[in-house]
């Protein structure tokens, strides 16, 4: 099944939840909706499911307009962030319920329930009630109920958020494995860039009710079409430093540097330079690395990594350093920015130049960004 949203908007009490969304989900694709809380991920999913009606626009499934079709008639499944099961039915009855309603005969139901339960490792709990299970097992039950339908579309609304770290990793991996064989559109909402990278597939970035960029996960990560995209899809967020380009030379504060061979094609003017925190270093690696003199705000140590928050005149930056480093507040530090890892954004926030190691294989023109195209 393919799914197309055409000019979908939803306005509730004058507040815009979804603003003119246009997107197509390919059959058998795994899609991640990435966005912060209140970006409209859940609203979009509810529209796709048919739980809410769009204010404008049409939803097409396999080319057929299903905009006003009741939920029951759409062949979809949904897994919520909360563990939603029928508490008065056993795990077996929970998983079997969509098939039972559809009038499938009981021997087929039995084989399919057992198969899907085995896939999700809950076959030993089939006779229990959902509330007697752990959170992870409850969510597995909900997923089993969604998978057994073998519908054309499964919606996952941040299904792993309420689970502990270990379980989340495990279920995420299994989920990805399951969808390699299923010929179903999966749409998965997430707030974590790292989760989107781990899941792969097609990533769609959402911000304030708008779809700002969509494409294969690595393309979206390497070639963000705007500062917003880059900030959304980078953890910790990408550093944005103000600067300018004049006659082929870039300046950032009082530092002047040669950019790269493509720089000539960029018009002179004010620009924003973006650099991902993990590309900043404490040692000079190349002779043309840009040196920035800043003062330490705080060094945040997370296991084997240190997030060094720094500030200077009109600049704040975060560097992600491997290893544990202790810094005292207000210590002067010199950090290096590799020139070939810099993104260039124009004053409006639109991407002008990606690091040239991407430019060889990708062309910024390829980026599909709806918000900026129109």
């Amino acid at each position: 099944m393919s799914l197309t949203l055409q000019n979908i908007s939803r306005v509730v009490n004058g507040e815009s939840y979804i603003d003119n969304a246009n997107i197509t989900f390919e059959p058998g694709s795994f899609n991640v909706l990435l966005g912060r809380t209140l970006a409209g991920k859940t609203s979009l999913m509810r529209l796709i499911a048919g739980l809410d009606k769009p204010t404008h626009g049409n939803i097409l499934m396999d080319g057929v307009d299903v905009t006003g079709m009741p939920v029951q008639k759409r062949n979809i499944a949904m897994v919520y962030q909360q563990f939603i099961n029928y508490p008065n039915l056993t795990v077996y009855e929970n998983i079997a319920s969509p098939l039972k309603i559809a009038g499938v005969n009981s021997s087929t139901i039995d084989t399919r329930v057992k198969a899907v339960a085995e896939m999700l490792h809950i076959e030993q709990f089939l006779q229990r009630f959902p509330l007697e299970l752990s959170g992870g097992q409850q969510q597995r039950t909900a997923m089993a109920r969604a998978l057994i339908k073998e519908g054309g579309l499964i919606l996952f609304d941040e299904p792993l958020v309420n689970l502990d770290y270990k379980l989340r990793e495990e279920l995420r991996f299994e989920l990805r494995e399951l969808f390699k064989v299923q010929n179903t559109i999966a749409i998965y909402a997430s707030t974590e860039p790292n989760e989107a990278l781990a899941l792969g597939g097609v990533t769609t970035l959402m911000h304030e009710g708008k779809i700002i960029q969509t494409g294969p996960v690595n393309d979206v990560y390497s070639l963000p079409n705007s500062i917003e995209s880059a900030e959304l899809f980078s953890e910790p967020p990408i550093n944005i430093l103000e600067g300018a380009i004049h006659n082929g030379k870039a300046t950032m504060g009082d530092v002047t540097f040669e950019f790269n061979e493509n720089l000539g094609s960029i018009d002179s003017g004010e620009y924003n330079f973006g650099i991902r925190p993990h590309h900043m270093t404490m040692e000079q690696k190349n002779s043309n690395d840009i040196a920035l003199d800043l003062k330490v705000d705080v060094a945040e140590i997370s296991g084997s990594e240190t997030f060094l928050h720094m500030a200077g005149d009109r600049i704040t930056a975060v560097a992600q350093l491997t290893g544990v480093h202790n810094f005292h507040t207000d210590t002067p530090v010199r950090v290096y920015l590799p020139v070939d890892k810099l993104y260039v954004f124009d004053q409006g926030g639109k991407m002008v130049q990606a690091p040239h190691y991407f430019s060889a294989s990708h062309n910024p023109e390829k980026i599909k960004g709806f918000a900026n195209n129109g």
Binding site: L51, V71, Q72, I76, Y80, Y86, P98, I101
Partner: protein, 266 residues
């Protein structure tokens, strides 16, 4: 448990149980003994009072009549309050909040206020002295309470369960009966209990709206004060029999009530 606690609880139970003990004891005594010197237990134990009640239709029909309208009341209350409470908990509609509050204000008026309109209305449409008349009159009080209790429980059930059911393919009625009602069965137990008890102990309306055919036990008990004085033993026995249905209902729904008190709006 220490000694002080045992003493405290004993005193508490003593005071609670004393009137009930006295009633039960009186029901096994004769009038002469009741009116005679003070005795703490029946000197001549007899079932005569109970035998009178169970053999005289003018007595036992009182219980039958009460039972009929109480059960009618419970059924009507549940059938109307379940959909109403679901609507209040799930949908936003014009005037939903004032309407919900208005339901509660019905509880604030004393039943006596409604006596005259009910009496006149029922007489003119030929409902006077029927079981359904009393059941409907009691609904005026039991339905708002039921909606209030059920709404609290239903709001505790996440809407996502409803949506999951629709996504699974359940139609609304199917979902409501198959999934939703079993989920709130404690609430239904509690609601049924409160409707039952309200209707069972209510006397004023039941007595005013009936004369012969649907006369409740409460009314019969107040009419036993005859020319030859009060038949104390008989009244006590009737009183004991009046307590029993309440005890039975409490026994059956006690687990649900405990859960209901813990979860909802009781």
């Amino acid at each position: 448990m220490n000694k002080r606690k045992i003493i405290g609880i004993s005193i508490y139970i003593f005071f609670i149980a004393l009137p009930i003990y006295w009633l039960v004891m009186m029901s096994f005594k004769s009038n002469e003994e009741i009116l005679g010197s003070l005795t703490y237990w029946p000197q001549n134990f007899s079932f005569d009072n109970y035998i009178t009640i169970f053999s005289d239709p003018s007595w036992y029909m009182g219980y039958v009549n009460s039972m009929i309208y109480v059960i009618m009341n419970v059924i009507i209350t549940l059938l109307t309050a379940l959909p109403a409470a679901y609507a209040f908990s799930r949908y936003r509609f014009l005037g939903d909040k004032p309407l919900f509050f208005w339901l509660l204000t019905n509880k604030m008026a004393p039943p006596a206020v409604f006596l005259l309109p009910f009496f006149q209305l029922y007489s003119s449409v030929g409902l006077f002295d029927t079981h359904i008349a009393v059941a409907l009159a009691h609904c005026l009080f039991s339905v708002p309470l039921a909606v209030w209790i059920l709404e609290g429980f239903m709001s505790g059930v996440p809407t996502e369960i409803d949506e999951t059911a629709y996504i699974d393919g359940y139609s609304f009625p199917h979902f409501f009966i198959k999934i939703f009602i079993p989920m709130i069965r404690s609430a239904i137990g509690v609601t049924a209990f409160f409707s039952f008890m309200f209707s069972w102990v209510e006397l004023l309306m039941a007595r005013t709206l009936t004369s012969i055919h649907a006369k409740p036990i409460g009314a019969i008990m107040t009419r036993t004060i005859g020319g030859e004085g009060v038949d104390w033993g008989l009244l006590a026995a009737a009183g004991v029999l009046t307590i029993i249905p309440g005890c039975l209902v409490v026994w059956f729904v006690r687990n649900h009530i405990a859960k209901g008190f813990a979860l909802g709006r009781v």
